[in-house]
Symmetry: C2
Subunit: 479 residues, 2 copies
Amino acid sequence: MSKDKQGVVEAITNRDVDFARWYTDVVKKAGLIEYSAVKGCMMILPYGYAIWEQIKSELDRQLKATGHENVYFPMFIPESLLQKEKDHVEGFAPEVAWVTHGGENELAERLCIRPTSEVLFCEYFANAIQSHRDLPKKYNQWCSVVRWEKTTRPFLRTTEFLWQEGHTAHATAEEAKQEALDVLEIYADIFENLLAMPVLKGRKTDKEKFAGAKETYTLEALMHDGQALQSGTTHNFGDGFAKAFGIQYTNKENKLEHVHQSSWGVTTRMIGGLIMTHGDDNGLIIPPRIAPIQLVIIPVAMQKEGVLDKANELKNRLSDNFRVKLDDSDRSPGWKYAEYEMKGIPLRLEIGPKDIEANQAVLVRRDNREKTIISLDNLEQEVAQALEGLQKALYQSALQNRENRTSQVSTVDELKNALDQKPGFIKAMWCGDVACENAVKEQATATSRLIPFAQEQLSKTCLVCGKPATDMVVWGRAY
Amino acid sequence: MSKDKQGVVEAITNRDVDFARWYTDVVKKAGLIEYSAVKGCMMILPYGYAIWEQIKSELDRQLKATGHENVYFPMFIPESLLQKEKDHVEGFAPEVAWVTHGGENELAERLCIRPTSEVLFCEYFANAIQSHRDLPKKYNQWCSVVRWEKTTRPFLRTTEFLWQEGHTAHATAEEAKQEALDVLEIYADIFENLLAMPVLKGRKTDKEKFAGAKETYTLEALMHDGQALQSGTTHNFGDGFAKAFGIQYTNKENKLEHVHQSSWGVTTRMIGGLIMTHGDDNGLIIPPRIAPIQLVIIPVAMQKEGVLDKANELKNRLSDNFRVKLDDSDRSPGWKYAEYEMKGIPLRLEIGPKDIEANQAVLVRRDNREKTIISLDNLEQEVAQALEGLQKALYQSALQNRENRTSQVSTVDELKNALDQKPGFIKAMWCGDVACENAVKEQATATSRLIPFAQEQLSKTCLVCGKPATDMVVWGRAY
């Protein structure tokens, strides 16, 4: 943490002046990460990791409740195995890290560090699945993966990152598709209800889908600055991988069939998303439902008799229902206020001698800095209400931003102008031809974010070629 | 799972005939792991991973309760960074995996995949620690590490394995030492009270200590076959790493001092330990306190009216307090009995039409196969008692085995004979000279397991040179 000599928390870059610098200031000064000696690799520090643990714990619970089982598969993939599915290897081979030596010896075959583990799970499924009784297999693993990225930014795009990857095998095409759709709903629930981030649901165009997938479903969120963030994806593989790897089972009629598969993942990128959605000029704002610390107690005039005792009493009282920290260090209250604002702790409770006398405390909300004097008789209710109010306000504010930044256009020129003037989500009709999608990218530096499940009929013609349109696409510029 | 054509669970190798083969049979047939295409790398399957999650959850809770914070540091270590501490690099460099290419390009400096992360934490501490206010730092991470092993066995020694590694920095030498001792106690608690594995506590000789440590503390367990298993270690580094990496802080008198450090870890090897401690000729036996499934309900004559309803009712009733599975698949009860014995589920509850009529069920303990007819009125109490009884019996039986296999000798010849006749822990006095330790290794193929904290004065002279002895050492042959 860098503090200046007076012990005052240093200012960060103004968010509206330089969003990118504001972002890196926040991740560093809130103590989320530190850079390591290897480019694009970050050290996730206690506060950053605690946020990940909160997300992980809730997602893991939901995945287990829906019949998914956790496993751990190796980090190494032999080069020959990676090459078994044509589209997949083309998508990933250019960006993997290669291990060529083990100890003193050169390896007979080089190994890549998993950029994702489809081929390992396929290799396993090919051996483990024989009968319809072995299906479905619904596996998930929490691990790190490596992709050799050219441009990196903490949480958003790093050489190594943490994620979960689910890999499933099913008897029918319908089940595999349904699995991909079901997990997308679980992800959406985590984003909307935990991270207070509104997301659009839909599918990717063929150009943007995952290497080897039949269909990719996606959640797209809009950041404060109007750039899009692909936030979670699920893939329906059909039987493509099953055919490449020979994953077959005998059905109830004793006939040999290929399985149908899905895979899906979310990453530490979620943390980047919540920073860029909710943060402000004073630092982070963490939605209460995932905040590692929901409330910080700051004793005022700490040296006065009874203040620390009372602060400890309140901490114990609140710890039954909330995640609470008491800062009784010798820093000044002013320093502490700034510090916990930077860290985005949802609520601050100030308690001093006069408050104690009046059986009250001062409750301050991180988002709007609203101060309320509350009676200690109603402490738990007041805190619960304030946390719920803050959770809802964050969601509403993010939704408002997205709505302000969503528009619709009918030509590429309009699309470019719209994005230049006010970056955001731009809806436009599209004919389904990749040539037109490429034209948008070239002429407007925008990519198709998704074909939303909730379609609207804006017009009848493609924004590029003017031929009949098949889908409404949401376009944008993305992280 | 391999089953023969009649659907009967295949027999495994007899434990006393071939312990090594019995072990690999069990890990495979109980569905804990599958081998991957890369030598020494295993796929940890749902049941194996669930055991790890149980261990992890309890250890993580205890570490957090004692002020440790979780982080995640990168898997890559630049070669130059690994070389900063002389003893450490000599210990690890011969067995690391090297990444030489990222994507299409050769790297300017090769990176090793962490075999352990001391140097990364030291690099971080050197920047992050400035003042006594920044101390102590008590960090922990759950991750996988890679060591290029020549001989590998599932869980016991694998190229990649899962573990937690703790890294701490303290103001004084005493605090760093105390930290290493405190965490050893936490580990011992997990082994003895969760895994039902008795452990000896003590320190390693200089020859056997961790590369770069001042002192290594260890827990040593004895397996059923009399071989020792180093089960968990903690290291007091003193200020050795701090001097190599320049990790300094200003103390309260504004004087610059080096920090003192510790590190410590336990691995998926714990799972191997519990298999080799408790398993028998019918497969695994998992101690109730960490069993992912504590009780399996097997309905008998399932097609009869009311049986499945009753089985489900009992499952719901027991799920409030226990981890319960109901197997209502169309396999025969006999197949299920064998299957869940193989998996080591502590208790089996059989319920059929006659039991229902008599308001009773049959409870079977995995270890001694004792069958008790219990009244459904006392279901919860009976299950709780049986689980506690089984937990204690496993510990007692392991302790008995260790006591039977512990002896004391006064010469190397006696030591060799003792180990040849009945492998186990052999106590003998030692002068502290590494030459004598080497002689024991050469003449008796035994290593010093530990210098127990609980010392006994067996005699006054070293088992090798006959000079005055300084310590009682426990010797053995180890996995």
